[in-house]
């Protein structure tokens, strides 16, 4: 039964026009994670590579393609956890980073802390040699359209994102 990798691309509303891209994205990322496992890689390597691929895919709400905050900017959160040691690493409200999951893993591996946030996470990224990326490189036309759509008075961003009750 081993090895195994299971991936999700988010439980929110997926418009029909994006359904195929979503499915193709999770399948492609899963193949990449499985190849690492088949090659003897660790489960941590597999989940970080899998989620990195999804962060780099503009279809998903993570990394490039993240939703915008009320100011039209992107703040991201990420977590990794190791089942052998119960070690974990996380970053929150981090900006201008292409792959927050990789930064979260560095928090786990390179610090004695569990989570770094905002400017502290950015300073740590610089110290680890993680390049900053411009905000524009993380914003897509789709995320900007949904941001504008939900600025209207009476808009319901959570319902827009989550969809109706399942």
């Amino acid at each position: 039964m081993l090895p195994v990798v299971v991936v999700h691309g988010g439980a929110g509303h997926v418009p029909r026009t994006r359904a195929e891209l979503s499915t193709a994205g999770v399948c492609s990322a899963t193949r990449a994670g499985y190849n690492i496992l088949k090659g003897g890689g660790s489960s941590m390597d597999a989940v970080v590579e899998t989620v990195t691929q999804l962060e780099n895919n503009p279809v998903f709400n993570a990394g490039c393609g993240s939703v915008l905050n009320v100011k039209g900017e992107i703040e991201m959160d990420a977590l990794v956890m190791d089942g052998k040691t119960l070690g974990s690493g996380a970053v929150s409200a981090v900006r201008n980073i292409a792959n927050p999951t990789q930064l979260a893993r560095l928090v786990m591996d390179q610090t004695s802390h569990s989570c770094l946030t905002a400017e502290g996470a950015s300073q740590f990224a610089r110290a680890m040699g993680i390049p900053e990326v411009p905000l524009e490189s993380l914003i897509t036309d789709y995320s900007r359209m949904r941001w504008k759509e939900n600025l209207a008075p009476g808009a319901n961003p959570v319902e827009c994102q989550m969809g109706k009750m399942g």
Binding site: M1, L2, P3, V4, V5, V6, V7, H8, G9, G10, A11, G12, H13, V14, A19, T23, V26, C27, A29, R31, G33, G40, S42, S43, A46, V47, V51, L54, F60, N61, A62, G63, S66, V67, L68, N69, V70, E73, E75, M76, D77, A78, L79, V80, M81, D82, G83, K84, L86, S88, V91, S92, P100, C115, A118, P157, V158, Q161, K164, G166
Partner: protein, 140 residues
């Protein structure tokens, strides 16, 4: 939000979750994803979970650790995932989805929202779906 759980050939388990958060959120708002036990949890002795949904609701029920608690009580990965999601829906009226795995390699991709893009790879077979009830397979 995106996430993954995995068990390698040595039986070590891990999870990862990453998100841009909620549409038009306040500046500085942080959801469940970076919170251990809510956005994800991994323990070689029990299993691993990665969650997605409305972060404030997931944190209220610490969804990832709740599902693993049900697995510690003997429930299967699928039943435990459904119990956790059902509790979140009944207790705080919110929807979500999870991917779950146990140390033997049993896995589940469960959600009570209308959709969740998911995929799994095991024994050289790729499993995937998007809408409720879908489960497609193809050889890897």
């Amino acid at each position: 939000t995106v996430g993954a759980v995995a068990v390698d050939t040595e039986g070590n388990i891990a999870c990862a979750t990453s998100t841009g958060g909620i549409l038009n959120k306040m500046e500085g708002r942080v959801g469940d994803t970076p919170c251990i036990g809510s956005g994800g949890y991994a323990d070689n002795n029990i299993g691993a979970v990665s969650t997605t949904g409305h972060g404030e609701a997931i944190m209220k029920v610490t969804l990832a650790r709740l599902i693993l608690f049900h697995m510690e009580q003997g429930h299967s990965v699928e039943a435990a995932s459904d119990l956790g999601l059902a509790h979140m829906k009944s207790r705080v009226g919110s929807l979500g989805g999870v991917v779950t795995v146990d140390p033997q390699g049993h896995w589940a991709a469960r959600f009570n929202s209308l959709q969740m893009a998911w995929a799994a790879a095991q024994k050289d077979t790729l499993h995937y779906g998007l809408y409720t009830g879908e489960h497609f397979t193809q050889d890897l």
